[in-house]
Amino acid sequence: MTDYTSENYIQENYALATSPSLRRRHAKEARFKWYGRIAIMIAFGFLVLMFSTIIFRGAGAFQQTNIALDVNFSEQVIDPSGERNPQALASANYKPLLTAALSKTFPEITARNDKRHLYKLLSSGAVFELGQLVSDDPSLIGTNQTIWLTASSEVDLFMKGKIDANLDETLRRISNKDISYIQALQKNGHIKKKFNSAFFTNGDSREPEMAGILGAALGSFFSLLVCFAIAFPLGIMTAVYLEEYAKKSKLTDLIEVNINNLAAVPSIVFGLLGLSIFLGVFHIPRSTPLVGGMVLALMTLPTIIIAARASLRSVPNTIREAAYGLGASKTQATFHHVVPLAMPGMLTGTILGMAQALGETAPLLMIGMVAFIVDIPHGVTDAATSLPVQIFLWADSPEKGFVERTSAAIIVLLAFLILMNLLAVFLRKKLERRW
């Protein structure tokens, strides 16, 4: 009989205590866990670094320095004929109103040179702001109003502390005199940072303080609309045909290999294709979201097809058999059962493909969506640019005021991306059915 009480026996055959080899295994496990944690921490650290840099740099662009002036809307200057024609009012000469208002605020300044400095406190777009105000509301004519007008980029940067006043005067973009004017305005509370609504309602501009993101955002939106309208139905139909209908043959193998290869083709190649086919052969108007969307659709198509096929393949075969067993035709089985079940995966793939298209710059450069476009596009055939191209253009601009606008545009782009991903999650949750 085995003597279970013998200490020797327990140690040899029933030992529950750890041994050196077990300890090595545990250590290995712990090490691997830590490798994973460290990798995640590094990745997360970079993410935080990226986001904090962008937000830190771009946050300033959501505020804009404004200067309050008492403007006398003299009828003699802006509408001598008294016709109140809105077009004429918008394009009238408002400069005299500004000079008069500035002289009223700084009556002590008379020297010509000093006056020129004084005018430069305001953005060169301020006259258009007045024009817009008057043409929207002609009853202003003949009255005195306190109006907040956009300050110039230099004043804005100084107010945000981005110009060091202790620097030598010759090395900074703002003179000691300008600073003294700003301080005088500050004393009366006539200079203030306000929410920069112009950034969200304006198109591009040469002046950083007047430049806005709306034109580029709408350009991106229209491009994606065209891209979705083309790529989604084409991609889904291709995937459904290849996965559910096509008999496996050398030809389908070839098509499959080519679709996979297309997904890896550099995007600029699609831009070249768009340039030579869409613009060169079909003469679709260049620089428009229409042609941009078509090029992006070509680029997104393989991604959508691959994602859609994978999600069709993941629908269990028992569902198809159940439908066939009841006498459903192939098309009924496919569109009543298989496609609805694959839809969440298809939509996720599509939205991820679209998100990739949203961030794409290279193919758009080839078809002229890189131009300096001030007007806000109202449809798919208006010349437009896109968010990433706008970021690229602003990053390329020498004016210091564009630095924060570049980061702000990146924030807008990221917000777009996050919204699209949230939409993907929402759709997946809503459409998902378990079996």
Partner: protein
């Protein structure tokens, strides 16, 4: 149309011609032959059991009866299978119509991820069997009652069919097959994933169903075949070894291989 009561006058089973008959059927997957020259008659309003060890081809043979093997591209079927006198592999036969006449219940319960009502209503809907909404509801309720499921789900017809228990799901699949009003119901190991109680419920159900339908069932369980079937076919390595009255197969088999299988020596 709709569910019309079986008005056929019952004559003696021996005189009645078989509802389905297979003659010299060969099935191959690529180069591998799965069924080798099988001929077999299925009598009407009876339960015919196909038994045999795993991989003997009994499921493949069952799937020939509603041409389910057509969906597998490498599968090739030759020979002749007749349903009510018509060759079902004839070019003129519409496979959709065939599958409406010959329903199928699968090994793994596969309800659609839709409501219980929609699961049963799907067949009548695609075949335009219901004249209006009330008629459709009628068909669904009758089918659920025939499948012995109605009392358990009558208050939650709009809930998902996938939320039911395994045995209930399988009965839902039977109700779904019945709703199309077929003549023959093929069952591919319908109880293999169920516990003994759920199995007993389904066996009772089949007993009642054979009044109206012809049932062909593939089963692993010899006990089940002995309990429920009137005819039994024993398959081995793609060949039909023995076919006859269930009583005779289980008490007095002629072939030694059948003898060995039912006594547990092979399989």
């Amino acid at each position: 149309m709709g569910i019309v009561m079986d008005m056929k006058i019952k004559t003696e089973a021996a005189v009645k011609p078989p509802i389905m008959s297979a003659k010299n059927v060969d099935v191959s997957y690529g180069k591998k032959q799965a069924i080798d020259n099988v001929s077999l008659d299925i009598p009407e309003n009876q339960i015919t059991a196909l038994i045999g060890p795993s991989g003997c081809g009994k499921s493949t043979f069952l799937r020939c009866f509603n041409r389910m093997n057509d969906t597998i591209s490498t599968c090739k079927t030759t020979g002749e299978i007749r349903f009510a006198g018509q060759d079902i592999y004839d070019k003129k036969v519409d496979v959709v119509a065939l599958r409406a006449r010959i329903g199928m219940v699968f090994q793994k319960a596969n309800p659609f991820p839709k409501s219980i009502f929609d699961n049963v209503a799907y067949g009548p809907r695609i075949h335009d069997l219901a004249e209006n909404k009330d008629h459709l509801k009628d068909i669904v309720i009758t089918s659920l009652k025939r499948a012995g499921l109605y009392d358990e789900v009558s208050d939650r017809l709009d809930e998902s069919g996938t939320g039911l228990s395994g045995g209930q799901q399988q009965r839902l699949c039977i109700a779904r097959a019945i709703a199309v009003d077929p003549q023959v119901i093929l069952m591919d190991e319908p109880c293999s994933a169920l516990d003994p109680i759920a199995t007993a419920v389904i066996e009772d159900l089949m007993e009642q169903m054979k009044e109206k339908y012809t049932i062909v069932i593939v089963t692993h369980s010899m006990a089940q075949a002995a309990r429920i079937s009137q005819k039994t076919a024993f398959f081995h390595l793609g060949k039909l070894v023995e076919y006859g009255e269930t009583d005779k197969i289980f008490t007095n088999p002629t072939d030694p291989r059948t003898q060995n299988y039912i006594s547990g020596k092979i399989g």
